[in-house]
Symmetry: C2
Subunit: 148 residues, 2 copies
Amino acid sequence: MADILHRIGATAPLEKVYDALATCDGLAGWWTTGTTGESAVGGTIQFRFGDTGGFDMKVLDQRPNERVEWEVTDGDPAWIGTRITFDLRREGDDTLVLFKHEGWREPGEFMSHCTTKWATYMLSLKRLVETGTGTPYPRDVRISGDWH
Amino acid sequence: MADILHRIGATAPLEKVYDALATCDGLAGWWTTGTTGESAVGGTIQFRFGDTGGFDMKVLDQRPNERVEWEVTDGDPAWIGTRITFDLRREGDDTLVLFKHEGWREPGEFMSHCTTKWATYMLSLKRLVETGTGTPYPRDVRISGDWH
């Protein structure tokens, strides 16, 4: 098993970063504008990226201003059964986001692509909470010609 | 042991991307302007980031238009002994870069930070070979208040 890890700090209140991770409106502001569903624990959130499909995530945990955890229940086979966690804490003037996408069965090219792509979305999250405007799909940063 | 993996595609010739990885001038254009040393196999490259120090890398392998591999010989203790590899190949209109920073003893917060930070440098490399201008240190993208 292999994991994708990221760490980013945003100069924004803990509550604001948590809202961007724990509500569909917040998620639509930095990951994909195609975010719908039920973001409370036990609910399922649908993330869609136009014609290329997307993912369904079951919300496993939500602790206000601390943690959000999802399990991938539908989408690319490489993602199904993996878990995504965001842990938050204050550090100086920053709200730190510790991101983990864990349980990859194969640390291959697709995981490498997703690692880089997640970084662009973490930067989008930072921009959203600091400036009010992120770069969610379809305004996301393209990192290659073949896999977007 | 844990590894950092990235995958990025640049609309630029293989030779241009290889030069950006295999020469000090090229590396200074996307990673840090403080790049000096001997970039041939067996040589050591010094990467410096102003007052915060930097890394020495021994060049283990260089295969024109295919691969560059380094071993970290000095710098942050977490990096010493780790290896960094760039594998290149053509895919459609892109030159693909498969990046690996392998041999981390602990998949902790510092590795998470370095994963995100490497992504910003991969995007800088892409920008350099596509447009002629990257964002190497000290013009690099700051991702947190505490760890730059």
